[in-house]
Subunit: 233 residues, 2 copies
DNA sequence: TATCTTAGTTAGGACATATAACAACACAAC
DNA sequence: GTTGTGTTGTTATATGTCCTAACTAAGATA
């Protein structure tokens, strides 16, 4: 086995290529028929290979699924990070809007991936916490930073419930966000649950059915978060 | 075939009993292993029957799944209606709290059912709109009624965005809720998305993982909805 | 060149959905 | 009661998964 530091060998290149092709087909299957439609045999057939061949690349259907989930988690985090990078120098409020819009854009561009990340992950074996936990936290970190930088005009920033305040503190300490005050932490969490509430319903198409544009709901919620943070009314 | 108006025949009783037993096993399977784990053959074996026997009761796995989804929809609606009935005579604010708490209790008691209703319904064939649409709307109706009855103290009740206002109006007309003003409609929708955001994440266990009590988040959101409606701050 | 590793193949077991053909029983009509 | 019909079950079978085992071909390396 050649040192992986050197240029990739022919075999390594081919393997990487095959792996990529497998994932592509896998996403296509899921996009088309949902997680249920993911089939190693189906992918193999689509790639012109025999079924068992794929087991050289993934130990099981579950492992492939877990890979897709983990990858999607990280892709979302990367996307939000990239948006945050792009937004450097803008106002805190603008940075918050850009970050949250990035989440929505990502979700709408690939709803099946959003479902993989936030839906119940049945049949996706174990997810590697070493990769999932950071990926799950990075977007939150961006949101917290932006929220925190918004001028908290007239007070009201604190969390009155002492138990909740302590829980928030504990969470922040575990995730390297202890520098934020509880009000920001709670608002960050709230931002996340509110956005997710809209997005997860939107990608199921329930707003289309109602004739309501979820974009407007989403923006209204963002406006309210900002108002809540800045003490405006 | 005896008239279904008369007392149910022996055959009809047995059939109903078998159907109930099938559904029970089906829910147990889903509760244990997710929608993927639903298996006609498995149910049959658990009931001491041969696989194909179940096809006398459900034409396909998808049809069984669709039945479970529809049934769960209606069960949630019934639960909220029952809570609303129980809460008659209480203050509008209390009625709102009781209704929303009923949703959360229902979701926590049977998360797999909540997922069936609000998750992506892959592999659950067609859902009958004649049953789904009313069931989906009944809880919203309860929420709107309660919200509407809360004193809207200092104005701010209207929806400033004219497009959104028109969309809300259209939705309300299609669902027999045209008597509510746009502010209430928007707040009802917002209540729904916010509650769903928390619940759908809660049942995936992400708050436990963070060491945060979602009950407190839920109540905080309810408080804010009420404050928003009543103009309090 | 000879050997080891990797990537593919076919064969086959365990199970799932689903259909077809058949047996046993309940029920209604005579 | 006997007869005929519809319902509920059975077994057998086709098809399609996941996945393992055993084998082959080809690349990488000594």
């Amino acid at each position: 086995m050649p040192a992986s530091a050197t240029s990739p060998s022919r075999r390594e290149r081919l393997r990487a290529q095959t792996l990529a092709e497998i994932r592509e087909h896998a996403y296509a299957q899921i996009a088309h028929g949902g997680p249920t439609a993911l089939s190693l045999n189906g992918i193999a057939k689509a790639m012109g290979m025999s079924g068992p061949a794929l087991y050289r690349y993934f130990a099981s259907r579950d492992e492939l699924m877990a890979t897709l989930v983990t990858e999607s988690y990280e892709d979302l985090a990367d996307t939000v990070d990239a948006a945050a990078e792009q937004a450097r120098g803008r106002s805190a409020e603008q940075r918050l809007r850009i970050a949250l819009d990035a989440v929505r854009d990502w979700a709408l561009k690939a709803p099946y991936r959003y479902r993989l990340v936030f839906g119940s992950t049945y049949g996706s074996g174990e997810l590697d916490p070493e990769r999932i936990i950071p990926a799950a936290h990075r977007p939150m970190s961006v949101i917290l930073a932006a929220l925190s930088d918004i001028d908290a005009g007239s007070g009201q920033g604190t969390v009155s419930d002492p138990v909740l305040r302590r829980q928030l503190k504990g969470w922040a300490e575990n995730t390297n966000e202890a520098h934020h005050d509880p009000g920001v932490l709670l608002l960050g969490l709230t931002a996340w649950t509110r956005m997710h509430g809209i997005l997860s319903l939107e990608i199921e198409g329930i707003f289309t059915q109602m004739g309501i544009d979820p974009e407007r709901l989403y923006q209204a919620e963002i406006n309210q978060l900002i108002a809540q943070r800045s003490g405006r009314r």
